[in-house]
């Protein structure tokens, strides 16, 4: 069997290079075409009519006036008379027309008589949600009662993190064209190979009849896997309009209301501990919502899963809000925040340095990660000047600006997904890689090219990578940080297979056998004897008219040592709080992250930088705000659904934990883990700065000032 394993760190040429991204200039010059950019011949525009109410029954719906609006070509009804809608912006009907304006006029002309029904949209106070809470059943490990009775110290607190929305800048949506032989589909998706069958299932046509193409996607973050109601409706509108293509992308308010959100998480947490900081017991009562399906329990206690005595209770709260979707590291940021905040509060109570408390309790973390955390805490502390800047909680001087430091941690799986790759070597020397995968902006195209270039001993620019079409060999969706491991491994296997074939063709000419050949520096040569060589071009010429095409598959059950799972990361935040205004300013964020073998450190760092910035948004600004009485989302816009800007983030330092011992584990996914620890770190830094825990994120001026006020009056 050919040797697929990664070349040793020291001899790699393309892998490990800090290259800029393959499609960078296309994007930065505005040439890159996203599917929302396409103007197809005879294009129609689709617009959804959505519910203004959080819960209502439709008594009647009349689309006749809409059908008469000039330009309107088709109207479809999704929720019929007698049926209910269960959240604001739920899809009710759709209109296609020759212009977007006409389609909107059509939507306005639809008459609906609603019977408004009672709703529950807020969950922060569990006592007020009535029968909407479903307890998951208590989980007990060890003897928590005894642990608390014998505890030298105990600490407790209540913490909350609200529902966030993905807010992908390219909204969800697609162009669909219905033809007699099948459907042409241009979605915005993280799932090029899987979304076609999904649409086909909804349309009740064979999966082979859906052609999917997407060159670029403007953000997904876990929310763009399925074809969704709007995909189906666009197809129906196209069919009803004689097969003209229909473009239907959500407007921003609908996007924020129904195109996915990250569930909230609230918890009352109690910890028993020894005076030296060792945690001996954990009790948590948590609840969460992510719409009508409730919200699952975040993995508590986070990382310190082996705390010997635990009692866990959780309730899923059903609320009339848009449905949850996977959001970068589902449930981990919530779990990290809840756990790290509780640990920090315990440390403060003990008057201890929280890093010491974290280290002390690494004994409860999975054994495989302990060394990593210990190493990373040390590195992160160094980068954040912890020993110089950290002080006891609240010991931040008498001025109005209080500075503080805090820490948060992450873990994640990230094994490579099922991925197929086709590698082709042409007689003219050109090489091509094809996968039914997608580049979410993580740099997938670029790293695939690096892997192929490494195998072939060619410059990275020589590799043509084609993604984004379901005619290419299938790769799984990009979710769960599984892409980098999956596509790099399948590419490695396919290119090694192709190279073997090339060796077979040229070995005799070089008076040797294929197993004695290697590809380096643009040549095929006898191992260790550079004199006996052919240039890559000359070698390929020997193929005559026949290209080599080989497949490679990453089989998650047998990844051949190319990829694996399980990472650790530590983040430290350094903030200043103006205690006269409650405004929190980021000074610095430090992230130390491992992800096994790093194919492109620059792109890896970009992932971590972006994740830190998302954490800053989540810790300080972002939240979906629901109105209890009207059931409305009050901020489905980018004005009051606040995101940080370029001047709001301070300095961010990233250290990729690239070490021999991490590298030899193979590739591990990175998209998600660095999004996990930041909110915890920032919230802890604020507590450290102002001397009191702000129980609920985001740490907006009102919440910060309220916490200070309570501390003053306590």
């Amino acid at each position: 069997m050919p040797n697929y394993s990664w070349p040793p760190m020291t001899t790699r040429k393309a892998i490990g290079q800090r290259l800029t991204r393959h499609d960078g200039i296309e994007k930065a010059s505005g040439r890159a075409k996203y599917n929302s950019d396409l103007n197809k011949q005879d294009l129609l525009y689709g617009v959804l009519l959505t519910s203004p109410y959080a819960h209502a029954r439709i008594r009647s719906i009349d689309t006749s006036a809409a059908e008469r609006v000039p330009g309107v070509t088709a109207v479809t009804v999704i929720v019929k008379a007698g049926e209910e809608v269960n959240w604001q912006s739920q899809e009710i009907a759709a209109v296609a027309a020759t212009s977007e304006q006409a389609a909107r006029d059509g939507v306005r002309a639809i008459k609906i008589d609603f019977e408004v029904l009672p709703h529950v949209v807020r969950e922060e106070d569990l006592s007020k949600v009535g029968n909407r809470a479903t307890p998951a059943g208590e989980q007990v490990t060890g003897d928590p009662e005894k642990a608390f009775k014998e505890a030298e110290v105990s600490a407790e607190g209540q913490y909350g993190i609200p529902v966030l929305t993905h807010c992908c800048l390219e909204p969800h949506g697609q162009i669909v064209q219905w033809t007699p032989s099948g459907v042409n589909y241009w979605p915005s998706t993280q799932n090029v190979s899987g979304i076609g069958p999904d649409l086909a299932k909804n349309l009740e046509i064979p999966a082979t009849q859906v052609k999917v193409h997407q060159d670029h996607i403007g953000g997904g973050f876990g929310s763009k896997f399925a074809s969704d109601r709007w995909g189906l409706e666009a197809a129906r509108l196209s069919k009803a309009s004689g097969g003209r293509p229909v473009k239907l992308f959500l407007d921003r308010a609908t996007e924020l209301n129904i195109a996915g959100n990250r569930p909230s998480a609230f918890a009352k947490i109690k910890m028993a501990a020894k005076r030296d900081g060792t945690i001996t017991g954990w009790e948590s009562t948590s609840w969460a919502t992510g719409g009508m399906s409730g919200g699952g329990m975040p993995p508590l206690p986070y990382v310190f899963t082996n705390i010997p005595n635990k009692r866990l209770n959780h309730s899923a709260v059903k609320t009339n809000g848009g449905p949850l979707r996977a959001w970068r590291a589902p449930n981990h940021p919530q779990a990290s925040f809840l756990t790290c905040a509780a640990v920090e509060d315990l440390a403060a109570k003990l008057g201890m340095d929280p890093i010491e408390v974290f280290l002390k309790n690494l004994q409860w973390a999975p054994e495989a990660r302990r060394e990593s955390y210990a190493h990373q805490f040390k590195k992160a502390a160094e980068m954040a000047e912890w020993s110089k800047r950290w002080h006891r909680r609240g010991d931040s001087g008498s001025g109005n600006i209080k500075r503080g430091l805090g820490v948060g941690i992450c873990t994640w799986g990230g094994a490579g997904h099922l991925s197929n790759c086709r590698a082709t070597i042409h007689p003219d020397g050109s090489v091509q890689i094809e996968l039914g995968s997608q580049d979410l902006g993580t740099g997938t195209r670029t790293i695939i090219a690096q892997v192929a270039a490494e195998t072939y001993g060619l410059p990275v620019e020589a590799v043509k990578v084609s993604l984004g079409d379901n005619a290419f060999p299938a790769s799984n969706a990009s979710g769960g940080s599984t892409t980098v491991g999956g596509v790099c491994s399948s590419t490695r296997i396919a290119t090694v297979n192709a190279l073997e074939k090339l060796f077979e063709q040229v070995a005799t000419g070089l008076n040797t056998t294929p197993d004695k050949l290697e590809a380096v520096g643009g040549k095929i040569q006898v191992k260790g004897d550079a004199a006996k060589s052919l240039t890559w071009a000359a070698a390929c010429k020997k193929l005559g008219t026949q290209s080599i095409t080989e497949m490679g598959q990453n089989d998650p059950k047998n990844p051949k040592g190319l990829n694996t799972q399980g990472v650790a990361g530590v983040q430290i935040a350094d903030v200043s709080v103006d205690v006269e205004t409650g405004v929190v300013k980021m000074n610095r964020m430090v992230a130390v992250q491992d992800c096994g073998l790093v194919v492109n450190p620059r792109l890896a760092e970009s992932q971590v930088l972006g994740a830190c910035i998302m954490s800053i948004c989540g810790a300080l600004m972002e939240e979906r705000i629901m109105d209890a009485r009207t059931g409305r989302v009050l901020n489905p816009d980018m004005e009051f659904y606040k995101l940080a800007g370029a001047a709001d983030i301070g300095e961010i330092l990233v250290h990729m934990d690239i070490r021999e011992e991490n590298d030899k584990r193979g590739i591990i996914g990175l998209g998600e883990p660095p999004t996990v620890g930041g909110i915890a770190a920032i919230a802890n830094a604020v507590a450290n700065a102002i001397g009191v825990r702000v129980p609920m994120v985001p740490l907006t001026p009102d919440r910060v000032l309220m916490a200070l006020e309570e501390k003053r009056s306590a």
Binding site: A28, K33, L169, E170, G219, D251, G441, G645, A646
Partner: protein, 217 residues
Amino acid sequence: MSKHHDELDEKAHPNSGFSRRGFLRGVGVTSGALGGAILTEEEAEAAQSAATPSGPAAVPITLTVNGKPQKLTVEPRVTLLDACRTQLDLTGAKRVCDRGTCGACTMIMNGKVVYSCTVLAIDAQGKQISTIESLTVAGKAHPVSQAFVKNDAQQCGYCTPGFVMATKGYLDRNPAPTTEEQAGKALGGNLCRCGTYVGVRKAVIEAAKAMKGAKNA
């Protein structure tokens, strides 16, 4: 064309106290100073619309986009962004918030950055509009675009054209920012969800240097 008008206007009102910019906004409509001047087609259209309201049905308009006059037919309610994206296939500028908040639709109009989602196409007649597409000249990317690539100031890239245009607009007026903090503040009208600001701030400073270098060379 607009230069010609500036001169005319300034001659006509030497010390009026109106800023040049005030006049620029007036370009394209008949004024006393323009009485005898020969109107271009665009101005004729605009002048017409001054006398009587146009619409609500679609009306012919001329936009000067990337230096070229473009004839379109739009309803008055169509925004500059939508007109460029759907009728001119200039899709670099993106529609994200569609409410003048996020900057993804940024274009430069008469030398200044604007949110094109919040400008009516009909209201943009007579203005010099430049979109990100104009930044590539003879196949060569603009120094700002290049700096974005070099500093990996993009991930999904959907916000990027807006950031590039905002950066260009900023550097045209402030050619020598020195700190990343200044750069960050200058881009207060643009948002990115993927979190590319660290690269963006570096790119601004680097592009400033490259553009200065190009000018001095």
